[in-house]
Point group: C2
Amino acid sequence: MVRILSFVGTRPEIIKSLAFHRAAKNIPELEILFLHTGQNFGQTMADCFWEGLEIPLTESNPNFKHETPGAIAGSLLDYMTSKIDEYKPDVVISNTDTHSAFYAAMAAANRKVPVAHFEGGIRCEVRTNPEEINRRLADHLSDWIFPIADGDVQFLINEGISKDKIFNLGDITLDALNIVLKEHDIVPQSGDYDLLTTHRQENTNDPKRLARILKGVADAGHKTVFPVHPRTRQMLDSGLPAEALKQATNIEILPPQGYVDMVRLAAGCRKVITDSGGLRREAYMLGKPVISLVWFVWFKEMLKLGFKKSVGADSEKITDAILNFNPQGERPPLFGDGNAAERILRKIIEKVSDEA
Amino acid sequence: MVRILSFVGTRPEIIKSLAFHRAAKNIPELEILFLHTGQNFGQTMADCFWEGLEIPLTESNPNFKHETPGAIAGSLLDYMTSKIDEYKPDVVISNTDTHSAFYAAMAAANRKVPVAHFEGGIRCEVRTNPEEINRRLADHLSDWIFPIADGDVQFLINEGISKDKIFNLGDITLDALNIVLKEHDIVPQSGDYDLLTTHRQENTNDPKRLARILKGVADAGHKTVFPVHPRTRQMLDSGLPAEALKQATNIEILPPQGYVDMVRLAAGCRKVITDSGGLRREAYMLGKPVISLVWFVWFKEMLKLGFKKSVGADSEKITDAILNFNPQGERPPLFGDGNAAERILRKIIEKVSDEA
């Protein structure tokens, strides 16, 4: 029996858990435990993401603290270390690029437990991007890395990480998306609205950037739905962007959405305007043009194929892309075939057995 | 004026501060502030290291907590972040491979302040070695890296770090050693005792390893002085290694020594038996054979030249090396010329000015 401990802190990690939990049902020699780190903006946010997903959560950290960088680091490391000591896993999963992902890798390395990192190798080559920091450090702490695209494999090799630690077995996000489409009878079709999301510090912590984004969307005049992340909400409730929002009468504000509802919104929209790394991939998988609100680039492949346009927080470029960006042509399966989770879990079991 | 903030937490960082403080006197356009992070095993340990060095300390962190990994991370990150916000430095120094060094780089990267990392690039390629974790992660968070040996430059390049971020300008440890030799009229000569130190978790947290080390030194029967790190002290005071120590009547236990006294002991001894990365280099600089108590290798060059023997915690090998390891031959200056600190500070000023 191989015991895997997966620390889950934020939306992309919850989505991965859905795929892993379903895949694990096919693997009797595996026990996978999901522990919520308490990250996210308040318990409501996390609850909303778990809703309707039927993933058994072993427990949640009641003591997550987010007030300062030290509080985040301290509360995550202590929770994770104590749980590694308690459950004695064979492997700890580090999911993606969040604080929870980095500190899970750190806690496991401290305790000399092997680390498997999902979505490793993605790089935008901006040193102080918070996700870049977490992802790169987690990669360099890991025993096995599971990137989701060929370009990311190359980034890892360029950083001296041995090829025999790297396995590109597909993107778990596609597994999860397929599960939700199927189980909730959602059929992708082009609707009469665009979908807008923004949650990255680069955009949400700068009221001028957020105001420029809102102006760009407002000027296009197209009906737009905007599920608002709590961090974005805080910024909207203060000063400048609130003014910009008032003028954006074509934008419909929604509370944070659970994963199933987000898939429904993405499947039914015309275009996706976002700074999210997960949603942009889901949009590509669903055949939606992606307008990216960050100026740096993840997934050069999507850009090369013409399905994504990076506009940053430039109002005019955003308006122009909403009105005129209509990618056509081939849309090859960049992110695997939707069966990544089971392949990855079986690979982990194989590696653990090799080392035993 | 360029303001550099140097967080200093442990012995090797204090030694570097000595060299930087003296070198900075020659550079009027520079302000360098030394802040003590409070790391080390209790305030006494830190006090003892600062003793006699005349380095002005801007302040000390009164709230360092060492009880758990989270307490260490949290108390360091919060202190450092608040001091970066307060002093608004142009550059933050990350010294070597300690928790203080890693979290200094992390705090600065979070605040988008450039990071200069000293002693970067050293690798033993053991993923869960605590120093390897801190050093590798600090390297990947840094803007400019100052390795101390050519082999380490290559490790950095192999990890995809751009050559124009890497400057091998010599080892600051040699600067500091020369300062102390000169100012305290210490002349290296081969005495009638060996010098033993051990402080690494790999050795101090495992009573069996520590007992084997003591047995190896006892069996050689040679007079040995043993300044004891507080972590080693804790282990000696409990069970098995205490027994081994009783039989080692040739070993003289000393309390932790200040830097000047350590240099005096190293300069006057016959051989150095250690798991310290700093002391082994100082020993080489002083012409002393080094018997290494770790099985993994830093500084392959010293090994290749035959001035170091890696014996780990193997009693017989330790005894044999004490009795029979007598390296001869050329001892080229592997670690620079003793003027590294000023060159490094001037390089940092140049890089800051380039980016302004």
